[in-house]
């Protein structure tokens, strides 16, 4: 995996963050990601991220659940092992609806959780670089990718002007890796946070 150079700007207010994101994007810098302590409404639009296709995946999982349930029960109860239950017809559709519903929900829910984890690259044993420990507490951390041509000093002062309370340059792994923090990297080492 490739290591890259990142410029990190920390903001302590949403109201400062939004205009800063806009300024950074219009200036042509590439934002790697913004880490926030909570879900910020509308930040995905500000970052120009495309709409997630998670719900489409959910629909497909749901349909799979519906057809699995209906296919399975109808095969079992009408062809493979027909039973007389309370004198009902073998093809007793109303009685199957609750199970069909449950299986639809189960497939959709489990499938969506797994897809969500895949899209966010979340899994046990998978590690990612933490740019700032306070992103989990009270800071909004904007991470900007640099290239060889980027003037890091310019960018740092640009971020400070945009309202960053703290800026930082880090060389870090851009993607994920398999491993342990204590061996590969001590995540929160040497991070003295200004009060």
């Amino acid at each position: 995996m490739a290591k890259k150079k990142f410029v990190v700007g920390c903001f302590n207010d949403e109201a400062v963050l939004f205009p800063a994101v806009k300024k950074v994007r219009t200036a042509g810098y590439k934002i790697h990601d913004v880490y926030t302590p909570f879900a910020v409404h509308g930040l995905d639009h500000a970052l120009g991220l495309r709409e997630t296709s998670l719900h489409t995946a959910g629909f497909i999982y749901g349909i799979t659940g519906t057809s699995t349930a209906l296919g399975c029960i109808s095969w079992i109860l009408t062809y493979d092992w027909p039973l007389n239950i309370g004198g009902k017809p073998h093809f007793a559709l109303p009685a199957w609806i609750p199970i069909t519903f449950e299986l639809t929900v189960l497939f959709a829910a489990v499938g969506m959780v797994l897809t969500f984890c895949y899209l966010c690259q979340l899994s046990p044993f998978i590690k990612k670089h933490h740019f700032h420990a306070r992103a989990t507490d009270d800071l909004f951390v904007m991470v900007i990718e640099t290239t060889d041509k980027t003037n890091v000093d310019d960018l740092t002062s640009f971020l400070s002007n945009a309202g960053a309370v703290e800026t930082d340059v880090q060389i870090a792994e851009a993607g994920w890796w398999l491993g342990r923090y204590d061996k590969d990297e001590v995540p929160f080492q040497n991070k003295i946070v200004a009060a």
Binding site: H41, H55, F59, G86, G87, K88, P94, A95, I97, P98
Partner: protein, 408 residues
Amino acid sequence: MSSIKEHFEIPARLKTWAYALIGVGLLALIIGFITKGRGTEEEQVVFIGTIMYNTIFWTLITNASMFFICITTLAMGGWQQSFRRIPEAISTMVPIFGSITVAVLLFVVFSGNHHIYHWLDTNAVANDEVLKGKSGFLNVKFFTIWTLLAVGLWSLLGWRMRQISSEADTAAFNGETGASFIWRNTVRAALFTVWFALTVGSTVPWLWLMSLDAHWYSTMYSWYTFASTFVSGISLIALWVIYMKNKGYLEYTNQEHLHDLGKFMFAFSIFWTYLWFSQYMLIWYSNQPEETLYFKHRVQGPYKGIFFLNLIINFICPLLILMKSSAKRNYTLVTFMAVLIIFGHWIDFYQMVMGSISKEQVTLGWLDFGILSLFVGLMIFFVSKALAKKPLIVKYHPFLKESIIHHT
């Protein structure tokens, strides 16, 4: 605020439409009265039944508007404030349609028309253990008092809700008066909601509709009726909101609000189906004659087509068409779905009432659509009048800003 069009001027075309629909409706009513209302006993029953389900349907869906305001008030909701004058205006129909309903129902009860309400037949009740057991509830006195009380209190408590909303038109609130305004809103909304639960949520559908099959009962029935009327009520609100947007009013209402109305339409269509199925499946499974008598002629008799059409329009269509979020934000699609849902639940009411009083024959025809047009015409006429009476924006409501910046 200077560019906001606060006062609605009724477009001439809307008036023409209202008059035309009322005209067609009155014509159908008169012709219906001459050909059926004075005909054989069965024809009379069909005539009265047709008026009955229409008036009950329209009373309940306009009343659902006031319920919508009250629950959003109780939940401290802010998003509906930018268009709340629309459900308010729709709810002014409750006294008007309510009086028609009371007149029709009391006419049926006092003329002792036991072809519609079997429990009015005193001889039959005296020889029938089941009906005797129900007679404490199903009798003329209780029916009359409860019907009058229900419609009267919906009108009164709804009027009080609309009254207090006018306070926010004149002057801005400070912290203290604002808090007291919200508190008084909450109290009034709670009173309406409690009465709504005691009537629409339980007794009124039992009395007005379920007692058409005097022997039969279902614990799902009232909720089923409520879900039916609430989802059509929301669709009616959505239609008026879209109409007003088209005419250039309601500047603060946008796709975000439409999205939420669309979610209500989607969610309550599913809720309706849930109740439909819970009622159907248990009766189908246990298969006891005294319970299946309701479904027998609907599922296996002449009403089969309408019965399943009902399920397709009110479940499959909203499920598939309104599922995507972009569909709920699309004015054309929401308009189409709102009309379809209102029509679907009108058909639902048709089979709920006519399926019980005209078991052998499906009577859907010109009379039904004529009476429907009468009620639609009346609704357009009076709602547009009510909209023109008050400013369209609740200018000083403390939660208005929440609605303006609303974001789904």
